[in-house]
């Protein structure tokens, strides 16, 4: 009698944890239709109130300039694609950083080199299924996804 009760409890716990592990919703669209343009605070924190994300830009700045002693970035461009990856860049950056959200953090998924001399006036557009990077000064347009450059187009206006 006692054994059968223990057996029942273990079975119930197994069923419950299995159910929790297998419950998922598919086809979630994380896409942000318009990029966020964020101004860092004195300590490098950027906050996007609408999409509820806040992080520090200094680690990105260090990756680009090997300097995180003070904030040198004026505006951070941020957009999220349908799969939930963040695309982050800024004026003067040579790369676009594709970051995936993790527990209390962002992890580098891909560093996409987009300019040898640094972007002059970058901006993101969502052009499903890609993220379009425009350098509005040079009129360079690059289509990106979380894996890298999809195709490269250069148009001079």
């Amino acid at each position: 009698m006692k054994t059968s009760r223990w057996f029942f409890l273990v079975l119930a716990a197994f069923v419950f944890t299995s159910a929790c592990k297998t419950f998922k919703v598919e086809n979630v669209n994380y896409a942000q239709q318009v990029e966020s343009v964020l101004v860092p605070t004195y300590d490098g924190t950027v906050t996007d109130a609408r999409y509820a994300i806040s992080f520090n830009i200094l680690p990105f700045q260090y990756q680009e300039m090997k300097d995180s002693s003070s904030v040198k970035v004026e505006k951070v461009r941020l957009i999220r694609n349908q799969r939930g990856y963040y695309f982050i860049t800024a004026n003067g950056f040579s790369n676009v950083y594709v970051m995936e959200p993790i527990d209390s953090g962002l992890r580098l998924k891909e560093r996409i080199a987009v300019s040898e001399t640094g972007l002059e006036a970058p901006a993101f557009n969502l052009r499903h299924p890609y993220i379009q990077l425009i350098d509005t000064k040079t009129s360079k347009i690059i289509s990106l996804n979380e894996k890298g450059i999809n195709k490269k187009e250069e148009r001079e206006s």
């Binding site: 239709q33 318009v34 990029e35 901006a123 347009i141 148009r155 206006s157």
Partner: protein, 407 residues
């Protein structure tokens, strides 16, 4: 106006910059351009000071809409919780509301402009009338002419003062009609325009103040040739000017007071008080003297309330006194004297001013009027015919009795 043009120019620059940069724009830039143009149009609407300005902006709103209509989905998202359509609707609604307000203001500004011309005319006309009255008064004071000549001067003086007072009545009516209809919301706008364009010649505050000063000076001059009717008219005029000032004074101060609103208010209010004190004193003294000359002693009075009480008590007491008198006609003579004063003066010659200045209200006049009728009935003596008839009847009765006894 200059601001408005500046904003419209800014708006056009914003449109041009959108079009020029449209080759390589990010969605974020389009949203920014949309918001900048939107803000420029809103500021333009707020700064619009003419129908031409707002009409130009209304056309601009349609061009603005056409410029961004292809991005409306992105803008709906970017502008959340607002939307592209709600932003356009807000612009149109603001523009319509401003257009409506400007239509009212332009209409009122046009009327004020006409009135400014009128005020200039009032000023010169009033100056002429004052001059004429003053010179006549001085001529009377210094006159060594014959009695006939003097009487002629007095008549001309009284006529001149009456003309001047009538002119002020008309002028005050004009001011009241124009300014009473001004919508409170448009006063600031009118004040901005008026401050730049109105000279002191056209400023109604200047003419009101000068009219008050003239009247106070005339009252101080204490001419003894004016009649009770003249004093009643002056008292009624003061009453009217006071009422009109109470009604439209704030608006006039707001539109024409400039940085001296408080000074103007203090000066005009103080002059109105002084004028009221002298007009009131002269009028009550003159009325008292008039009744004294007419041998009507109604007792003491020096204001509206005590005047009505004195009249009411006088008529009530006289009616009571007449009830016992059948043959005597003293009370009836009193009644006739009073009734003549009441009918020819209070109900006829002076009625307009008495009612205008609330010396007696219409209900007070009606109340006393009915009491006077009762007094007339009570004091009317029996006619001689009836007395003879009664005497003859008594005599015939006595003769009849004597004849019966003798028989």
């Amino acid at each position: 106006m200059k601001n408005s043009i500046k904003y419209i120019a800014a708006l056009l620059i914003a449109f041009l910059s959108v079009q020029a940069g449209s080759a390589q724009q990010s969605d974020y830039q389009i949203k920014e351009e949309f918001e900048a143009s939107y803000a420029a149009i809103i500021q333009g609407i707020e700064a619009s000071s003419s129908i031409a300005d707002i009409d130009s902006l209304i056309g601009g709103i349609e061009r603005f809409r056409s410029r961004f209509i292809n991005h409306y989905k992105m803008l709906d998202y970017a502008l959340y919780p607002e939307s592209f359509d709600s932003k356009i609707a807000t612009l149109k609604s603001n523009a319509r509301s401003t257009e409506h307000k400007l239509l009212i203001i332009e209409n009122q500004a046009e009327r004020l402009s006409l009135l400014s011309d009128e005020v200039t005319r009032f000023k010169s006309e009033l100056a002429k009338l004052n001059l004429k009255s003053d010179s006549l008064r001085k001529a009377i004071a210094m006159s060594e002419e014959s009695e006939r000549k003097l009487s002629e001067l007095v008549t001309r003086y009284r006529k001149s003062v009456e003309q001047r007072d009538q002119f002020i009545f008309d002028m005050i009516d004009s001011l009241l009609i124009t300014y009473d209809s001004i919508v409170p919301g448009s006063i600031n706008e009118l004040a901005k325009n008026r401050a730049k364009t109105v000279s002191s010649e056209e400023n109604p505050l200047v003419i009101i103040n000068s009219m008050l000063t003239e009247n106070i000076e005339s009252a101080k001059a204490k001419s003894n040739v004016l009649t009770t009717e003249d004093y009643l008219r002056i008292y009624a005029l003061q009453h009217k000017v006071q009422n009109v000032w109470n009604n439209i004074g704030d608006k006039l101060l707001a539109i024409y007071g400039g940085n001296d609103k408080s000074r103007w208010n203090q000066q005009i209010s103080s002059n109105l008080r002084d004028w009221k004190a002298s007009a009131s004193l002269s009028m009550w003294n003159s009325l008292d003297s008039f009744l004294e000359i007419k041998n009507v002693d109604i007792g003491a009075f020096d204001n509206n309330s005590s005047f009505f009480t004195a009249l009411d008590n006088f008529v009530t007491e006289a009616t009571k006194g007449s009830n016992g008198a059948i043959l005597g006609n003293n009370t009836y003579e009193d009644f006739k004297t009073f009734s003549e004063f009441w009918t020819t003066k209070v109900l006829d010659d002076w009625n307009e001013y008495i009612v205008e200045a609330d010396v007696l209200t219409t209900s007070q006049i009606a109340s006393i009027d009915s009491k006077i009728d009762a007094w007339g009935d009570a004091s009317k003596p029996l006619s001689l015919g009836i007395v003879f008839l009664i005497g003859f009847g008594i005599l015939a009765f006595i003769v009849l009795i004597v004849a019966l006894i003798m028989k």
